[in-house]
């Protein structure tokens, strides 16, 4: 069963996927041709990952038809996808770090003939211009080399459809060029390649066709030559006017100052970040997941030490060591993973408040109960003083975390603060935060929701690959500039003729 270049390799018709009440995919139809590179772009939560998981059999669609080489197929397990020859290169390579390159190559190969497979590995590696040493341990390879190995494994298994998820994050420019050359060669041999990416530059240089997903739907479909402005508009939509709910106020003294901060943490790390945030500022951090926002917040919160550069915070000279009690700290951080990173499973609401406040040394079972009841009432938490944190819903966990912010907090750092909150809870949360922030505080929050940032923040910083590409007051920038930055185009790029 050979599919000629130009014919449809994969046809999707009206694919729906529901998770409970959430519709992650709301009727996606598209065709992926043999012998082409097909880009799938979209912002966080647009449905890219869900669609790829359906194609690789990790999750099943709720409804819709999938055709493979003209035949209707049912992808129920990863094995089904593998049998058809659909292979995926994940962001984190799925390999066996302790084994050698050759062992990794052999794990999935048919038969066990080390001599022959070594020969095949070397030939393939050579053909694509890779330089893989069969005997080197995989844990000593760079991410780019592990990708190369993974790619060879998929090719050797005669994959006809290759899906790549943000493949250029964390690899060098040189490795990127080698990878792209390999992908082009595979395309010319009739493979269908799906590239999930948010980097417009690589989409432009590699893809024959681009489909834009937004809120679970296909909102645009373009062939080369691409119209970048229209792509951006499709990816990020346009904001209804007059939504800003925050007024810019006079900014005061600086609260947080970072100078030439570098970090290797996270997927993107942080590269040469120098910013200063002052009193009265509400800063929204934008960018695709894993572009450096998480690392930035943790360094600002003193939870992570930068590899180099200096960080100054209001309550202590440097973010070197945590201050004594949470209550005397003026910097608080509310992580996105509320139960995993912010709260202690098994500890009750009352016990959390005791930990956060000035608890006496000896604690009776009633100590802090009245205080807890008061907090539960003022923060509308659904629960009792003895409810454990893991017994609360996501929204109530966030309310509990918010209630733990001390009155004296001056720098409030939040990661995806409205995730899982309905509109009313979100608006309550912002009122609460503004009260806590007072006249001499600042808020920095990361959010995947651009509308939220434009509405709630006085200043926006856009992260791309660990760098801040755009830093501007929200009332003096527009969505186009912001979305360009999210996809890796700086304002300076826009003035240059397209490469």
């Amino acid at each position: 069963m050979e599919t000629l270049p130009g014919n449809d390799m994969i046809g999707l018709e009206e694919i729906h996927k529901r998770f409970g009440r959430v519709e992650a995919l709301a009727g996606v139809s598209m065709r992926i041709r043999a012998g082409s590179v097909h880009g799938i772009v979209g912002e966080n939560g647009a449905g890219k990952s869900t669609l790829m998981k359906i194609l690789t059999g990790f999750i099943s669609r709720t409804s819709g038809t999938i055709r493979f080489a003209g035949r209707e197929v049912d992808l129920r397990t990863p094995r089904d996808a593998d049998r058809l020859g659909i292979g995926m290169l994940y962001q984190e390579p799925l390999d066996f770090p302790r084994l050698s390159v050759l062992d990794n190559f052999m794990v999935a190969a048919a038969g066990h003939d080390p001599g022959r497979l070594r020969q095949q590995l070397l030939e393939l590696s050579d053909r694509f211009g890779f330089s893989l040493d069969p005997d080197s341990a995989v844990e000593r390879l760079t991410v780019g080399e592990r990708q190369q190995l993974e790619l060879l494994r998929l090719i050797h298994r005669r994959c006809r459809v290759l899906i790549l998820d943000e493949p250029t994050t964390g690899i060098s420019q040189e490795q990127q060029e080698i990878l792209f050359a390999a992908l082009r060669a595979l395309r010319d041999r009739g493979r269908a390649i799906i590239l999930v990416s948010h980097k417009l530059a690589e989409v432009r240089s590699l893809c024959d066709r681009v489909t834009v997903l937004r809120q679970g739907r296909v909102v645009a479909d373009q062939e080369q030559p691409l119209d970048e402005d229209r792509l951006l508009q499709a990816m990020f939509g346009s904001l209804p006017g007059g939504q800003r709910t925050v007024a810019s106020r006079e900014t005061g003294r600086p609260i947080l100052a970072m100078d030439r901060v570098f970090s290797g943490a996270g997927r993107s790390g942080l590269h040469d970040v120098s910013v200063s945030v002052a009193e009265n500022e509400v800063v929204g951090l934008a960018g695709l997941d894993g572009s450096g926002q998480a690392v930035f917040l943790r360094i600002a919160g003193g939870l992570l030490q930068p590899d180099s550069g200096s960080v100054r915070l209001p309550d202590r000279g440097r973010a070197d060591r945590p201050a004594k009690g949470r209550d005397c700290r003026q910097t608080v951080f509310l992580p996105a993973d509320r139960l995993g990173e912010g709260l202690v499973p098994g500890l009750s609401i009352r016990e959390h408040l005791l930990l956060a406040g000035d608890a006496p040394f000896f604690l009776a079972p009633t100590t802090g109960r009245t205080q807890a009841e008061k907090t539960i009432a003022t923060c509308n938490i659904i629960g009792s003083p003895s409810t454990p944190a893991d017994g609360l819903s996501g929204g109530n966990q966030q309310r509990l975390l918010l209630s733990l912010i001390p009155d004296r907090a001056r720098l409030i750092l939040l990661e995806n603060p409205t995730r899982g909150l309905d509109v009313r809870s979100a608006s309550w949360m912002w009122q609460f935060l503004h009260r806590r922030m007072g006249d001499d505080g600042a808020i920095i929050f990361a959010s995947p929701d651009l509308e939220e940032i434009m509405a709630r923040a006085t200043r926006i910083m856009v992260f791309f690959n660990g760098r801040i590409l755009l830093d501007a007051p929200t009332d003096r920038t527009d969505l186009q500039t912001v979305s360009r930055a999210i996809t890796g185009r700086t304002p300076e790029d826009a003035r240059l003729p397209a490469a």
Binding site: G340, L343, V344, L354
Partner: protein, 347 residues
């Protein structure tokens, strides 16, 4: 490996009866005895009469219970902090060594009761420092506390043997029977007809009460739980998990060292190579069998002490090796882990 998973499994959703644990353990042991051609009933009777047959025997049980309870209380702190303090065995040994060292100082300066008190304190300090050593190896050196502790156990064991055969050897001879007996005024005395020193007993009971108070009724206990369950979140509350775990290691070592001191002053009245009697390891089993619950610890420890004492006479009366006690203890703990595991799975 963290202990917190096991500490957290007291979920209300699970309804497998806890009675299954003794039932399962009993079945296992009986089957084993039957296979070996022994009568479970005879053995059970021998164990009971050897431990609770009369006051003399029961007081012997209590003399085992006291140090075992001290070690178990110490482990409650480290388990709460999410640590596997395997090094507790070495902490007992170091406590015994430090205690003996003080008692061997040239005398006359202080009255014997004061020296005895100082010696016990030195034992606690020695054990505590040994615990801190394992904790610092973990915090600063990245050595898992299990391996660090195990290594330090061997060092402690080597140290005690070197002392007994070297600097502290008995006049003229060096033997496995240990150092010279301490002068009787350095003994924690037992009343006639008793095999347990009331001071040791009182120390153990007071420690138990203080531990329960500290664990469940203080800010320290709360912080310990937070740091042990979720170090990342604890950091957001201004708690330094590393410091808390060091404090837990010190407390565990302190109590273990005290137990070592009791072994020297109340039980053997000298330093012997097997001064710890394996109570450190046994305490790990006690606390696991108690499912890390403080209130269950004294009862389980008492049961284990009965087994240890009751099995002493087995070789003489029934020609069975006294290691049977260990077999029963092992069967109990395995059954408990199995049942707790199943309960957790079901919830």
């Amino acid at each position: 490996m963290k202990a917190q998973q096991s500490i957290e499994n007291q979920s209300p959703g699970s309804r497998l009866p806890l009675l299954l644990i003794p039932a399962l353990a009993l079945t296992l042991v009986c089957l084993l005895l039957l296979v070996l051609g022994l009568s479970p009933l005879t053995i059970g009777r021998a164990l009971a009469s050897g431990s609770v047959g009369n006051w003399l025997k029961f007081s012997h049980v209590l003399s085992v219970w006291s140090p075992l309870l001290l070690c178990s209380c110490g482990l409650l702190f480290t388990f709460r902090a999410g640590l596997w303090n395997i090094g507790i065995e070495g902490q007992v040994i170091l406590g015994a060594i430090c205690c003996t060292a003080v008692l061997r100082l040239p005398g006359g300066l202080l009255p014997p009761p004061a020296v005895l008190t100082l010696a016990l304190l030195a034992g606690g300090a020695g054990g505590g420092l040994w615990g801190i050593l394992a904790g610092e190896l973990r915090n600063r050196g990245g050595v898992n506390e299990i391996f660090g502790g195990l290594g330090l156990n061997f060092v402690g064991q080597g140290l005690v043997i070197w002392l007994i055969f070297g600097p502290w050897k008995r006049a003229g001879i060096a033997s496995m029977s240990g150092t010279d007996l301490l002068p009787p005024h350095f003994w924690l005395q037992s009343p006639p007809g008793w095999r347990v020193a009331p001071v040791a007993l009182a120390l153990a009971v007071l420690t138990l009460a203080a531990s329960i108070l500290l664990l469940d009724r203080t800010r320290f206990g709360l912080r310990l739980r937070a740091a042990g369950t979720s170090p990342g979140a604890a950091r957001l509350f201004g708690i330094e998990p590393d410091r808390i775990s060091l404090q837990a290691m010190f407390l565990a070592g302190l109590l273990a060292g005290l137990a070592g001191g009791l072994q020297v002053t109340a039980v053997y009245h000298r330093l012997i190579p097997a001064i710890s009697s394996g109570y450190g390891y046994l305490a790990l089993l006690v606390v696991m069998l108690a499912n890390y619950r403080p209130l269950a610890v004294p009862l389980i420890a008492l049961f284990f002490a009965c087994l240890v004492t009751g099995s002493i006479q087995l070789p003489i009366s029934l020609q069975i090796d006294s290691s049977l006690a260990g077999v029963i203890q092992g069967a109990c703990v395995l059954s408990a882990l199995l049942v707790y595991g199943l309960r957790k799975e079901k919830s």
